[in-house]
């Protein structure tokens, strides 16, 4: 489980259903997520809109400031500055983005019924998506080594919008026959 003590949005995730312990991990909300609130939710924009569905990706880039993720980060194959780099973009070896529907308790993989936390400093409304599965990998993807998962859109690797991300519990490297599971939770408060 991860969380963020920030007066804006808070994100949590349970990376594996089978985890017996939970750890606080770094998280980030990117500019586009905030812009959806200001322009689409508040302003009914017809151009700043949510995608047809969400996709979830694995990234080599860790959440954090400096050379890691920043609020204005972009997807890029170039590992530089605050660029976000996706695993498997040179050699997929079984890697592809997974889909989360833009619905609540309707499609096979979508968001659950949201709940409310009334805590003054860290509370808010939260929802957890159904677990997604990556792989099975046919070998080591290139690049390999996931430090974070990212809520994004589209299927093209190292492209699309960034919405929010969280660190994986540890660096995950993949080999033939492996699968990886992620269960993202969004807490907005």
């Amino acid at each position: 489980m991860i969380g963020m003590n920030d007066p804006g949005m808070h994100f949590h995730h349970r990376e594996v259903e089978f985890e017996t312990h939970r750890e606080m991990k770094a998280v980030i909300a990117f500019q586009r997520m905030s812009q959806l609130v200001t322009d689409y939710v508040m302003g009914n924009s017809g151009s700043i809109t949510p995608p047809a569905s969400w996709t979830i990706a694995l990234s080599t880039t860790a959440v954090g400031s400096g050379s890691n993720m920043m609020r204005n980060s972009i997807w890029s194959a170039t590992v530089s500055g605050s660029n976000v780099n996706e695993i498997g973009s040179s050699t997929a070896n079984g890697y592809a983005r997974q889909t989360i529907a833009k619905s609540i308790n309707q499609a096979g993989i979508d968001w659950g019924t949201s709940t409310f936390d009334n805590t003054f400093s860290t509370g808010g409304q939260s929802t957890t998506a159904d677990q997604v599965t990556f792989g099975a990998f046919s070998g080591a993807p290139s690049p390999n080594g996931a430090n974070s998962w990212v809520l994004t859109d589209g299927s093209t690797l190292n492209a699309g919008q960034l919405y929010f991300a969280g660190d994986t519990a540890a660096l995950r490297t993949f080999a033939n026959g492996d699968t990886e599971k992620v269960t993202p939770t969004l807490k907005a408060g």
Binding site: Y95, T99, S155, T179
Partner: protein, 134 residues
Amino acid sequence: MFYEIIFETGNHSVAQYGSDEEARDAILSHHNRALKGEKAQATNQEMGPAERVKKVLKYDSHPVDYTASQAAVASDVSAAVEEAINENKIGDLVSVPEVAAAVREISSPLVDSGPHESNYKMPESGELTGDWNE
């Protein structure tokens, strides 16, 4: 090529492989781990057990691309609006947000399917068979 792997548990995954042979090797490797009661990830024992594979469907592109443009046939939109109005109207009034939600649903690439059926609207180009079918 993209492959939708449907596990016996009802979980789904989309994977990209260069060939059917590469896909078979990877998928069978995971399936065999499940048959042996092994973990899903060799280097991360907390990831839980491997899962037996039930079915593998093939796509020429990632099935999320089917509706990514969010462009729809005008008559489909009209039909969705009419259906939403008929389902939600009370007298002469209907909730605009409920109609809008019905229209937005048109561009979803996903369907609510059975646990061993495809999660996607995109028609598959075929099925990949392998030893997991035995």
